[in-house]
Amino acid sequence: MTLKEEKGFFSSLGESLCSLRLTIALLIILAVASIFGTVIPQNASPEEYLRAYKISTYKILKILGFLDMYHAGWFLFLLALLSLNLVACSLKRFRISWRFFSHPQERLDEDQWKALPGSRKFSRKGLPAESLAPYREALSRVFSRPKVLEDFKAYSLFAEKGKFSRLGVYFIHLSVLVILAGALLGSFFGFRGNVNIVEGETADKVILRSESQAQPLEFSVRLDKFSISLYPSGAPKEFKSTLTILEGDRPVVTEPIRVNHPLTYKGISFYQASYGVASVQKAVLNIKDREARKELAVAAQIGTKTEIPGSASAFLLARFIPDYQGMGPALQMIFFEPNHPHENFWILQDHPELAEKQPGRYAFTIQEIEPKYYSGLQVTKDPGVWVVWIGCFLMMGGFYMTFLLSHRRVWLRLTEKGGETWVEIAGSSHRDRPGFEKELEKIEQELRERLPKERRNSAKSEDPP
């Protein structure tokens, strides 16, 4: 490749990078790709995928990164390309916008006077030098302080408002980059994990969601108590975990967390995410004596042999499981009767009718289980989150500048014509022209009223002779 061709290649590459066509193409590709990401479940287990897809489809989707699409290399590449395109386009345009700051057009040439729509003309008594001061003052009052340029026997006045709205779009573009930078910061220096803690127990590490490996914490956290409160309808009202942060063995903070009310300590936040029953503190069983036809309630703990009052029989609750084959909480029971081999069966809390099938003299049902809960906490460290919020505020500021402000400029020319002042007004606004027309009307009105009229019939269609 010759040097010339190479230069051609790079300059055309540069040109495509700062083309808006690329921006629109990238936005369309990202939008379409994102649709796929909402249709294909993300980060599910292989079993779930195999239930939905053929194995070959699953393999292809996996290779193409569609199963964790938003973190796949190609998706991140597209985001990076969009950022690069954003920077390139902004830099290219910024040079033009900056001219409004570095070289404001303070004077219009003759062609521009003719080209600007809605310019207004009228004449007034007195020489331009005499009318200058009142007009300058009037323009400052109704619009903004003008800059005065003196020409030969004539004056040009230039006033502008809202020129910063020209920069709004750069604030918006910058804000997108800031938000992405914040996200990047979070993904490099932060983590997201989960930990289940049983009441009374302590954890000093969390399982990371992405790599399923443990992330040690610099401190430990103890779950003092977990509680649920329900609405009368049975719907959950509040999940509350009381957490204590321990530095070594020393408790430093004790605070309840609820959904929407996390606890943050040393940049690490703990969120109430889930809960479950880990084991049983105490169970109250209802024991029906089939022979004596009477019932009694007996409290028991897991792993302790309990005698049934008034009999030689005893039972032992071996273990608790929160869900027995989809039928809800269950206790495993070992039942001892003299001169019999012991029996082993399950008691289901939600299905008391199954107690009739239990062997022997007694039918056991669960009256009450005093559960020992575990609380599932989401543990997050995200040092980038503040950067993201700053980006969001920047974006709002950018929208305000871009959509609500407009750069309005007014030029005034005072020339001498037969001992009178010939006044010409022109204006331009880069947004909301109808609104600006009204403003220009008001400015003209103000200036007309400022000085005495020479002739009654001076109209804006009038031309200098």
Binding site: R21, L27, G37, M396, F403
Partner: protein, 281 residues
């Protein structure tokens, strides 16, 4: 409940407003236009009163939360926002021409709330995830933006209808005689998006801030979040195409309609077709 009965009445009133606005176009009668406009304001006030009354009723039930918490309540609020924004434009533009195209949206959404089988009008207590002050800021900004996009879509439809007549070289049908010029419609398509886009952005940002409190992550590529971003992309394309590539007319009108379809999918599609964290509305 009284509020539900009021809302049923409001539904029929919106239908009546729609019919009146259409007749206004068909008969070009200024008087019909005034009646349609007046009735719309009255309907809007009753609608607002019904929403406030539902709020009171939720306190009477001992539940006590703003009526913005489920599909029914959000549809009712969406419909109110559309009527409200439309009437603001009517007042600003001093023209009732858009009414026949904007009011059907207000009617359809509130009618869907009352009639769709899956949408319950019961007042339920708030589940823990929804117990947050972010709820109000998030829902209000989102629905105001959706409403502005609905208006933009309505104006785009008017634009395309008028353009088709013009391209075919046909004389304008009588009912189109009152339509503003193509340029004016095109500007309005743009202006309504300029209102909606920052509101959508605030809606997404407040949603992200809330998610950060509730779920410990401001962005988790949940289908609802992703679809709101897709919608944002579509309107971003619209603005760039118009600002920098000078797209006008047919193409931007089409983009505005695509954008509103994305809004509808974000709102309904995600709940009915896809599943995710955001299963309330």
């Amino acid at each position: 409940m009284i509020s539900t009965k009021m809302l049923t009445t409001v539904t029929f009133l919106y239908l009546l407003c729609t019919v009146l606005y259409f007749n206004y176009l068909a008969f070009r009668s200024e008087r019909l236009g005034k009646v349609a406009g007046g009735l719309s304001w009255i309907t809007l006030v009753i609608h607002a009163a019904a929403i406030l009354w539902r709020w009171v009723e939720s306190y009477q039930l001992g539940i006590g939360h703003a009526p913005l918490s489920n599909m029914y309540e959000s549809l009712v609020f969406f419909s109110w926002c559309i009527a409200f924004l439309y009437l603001l434009w009517e007042w600003k533009l001093q023209s009732r021409v858009l009414g026949a195209f904007a009011m059907p949206f207000a009617f359809l959404f509130i009618a869907y709330a009352s009639l769709a089988p899956g949408v319950s009008d019961r007042i339920d207590p708030l589940i823990p995830a929804l117990q947050s002050n972010w709820l109000h800021a998030h829902v209000i900004t989102c629905f105001l933006s959706y409403s502005s996009f609905a208006l933009s879509c309505a104006v785009s439809v008017m634009y395309l209808l008028k353009l088709r007549k013009k391209e075919k070289g046909q004389k304008e049908a009588g009912w189109m005689a009152l339509f503003p010029s193509l340029d004016a419609l095109d500007t309005l398509v743009y202006k309504t998006i300029v209102v909606g886009f920052p509101l959508l952005t605030i809606g997404i940002v407040t949603g992200a801030a809330w998610a950060n409190y509730a779920w410990g992550s401001y962005w988790s590529w949940d289908p609802k979040e992703t679809w709101s971003l897709i919608t944002w992309f579509v309107y971003a394309i619209f603005l760039h195409a118009r600002f920098a590539r000078e797209w006008r007319g047919k193409r931007t009108a089409a983009l505005s309609i695509i954008g509103f379809l994305a809004v509808i999918f974000t709102y309904f599609g995600v709940n009915y077709v896809l599943s995710g964290l955001h299963s309330y509305a």
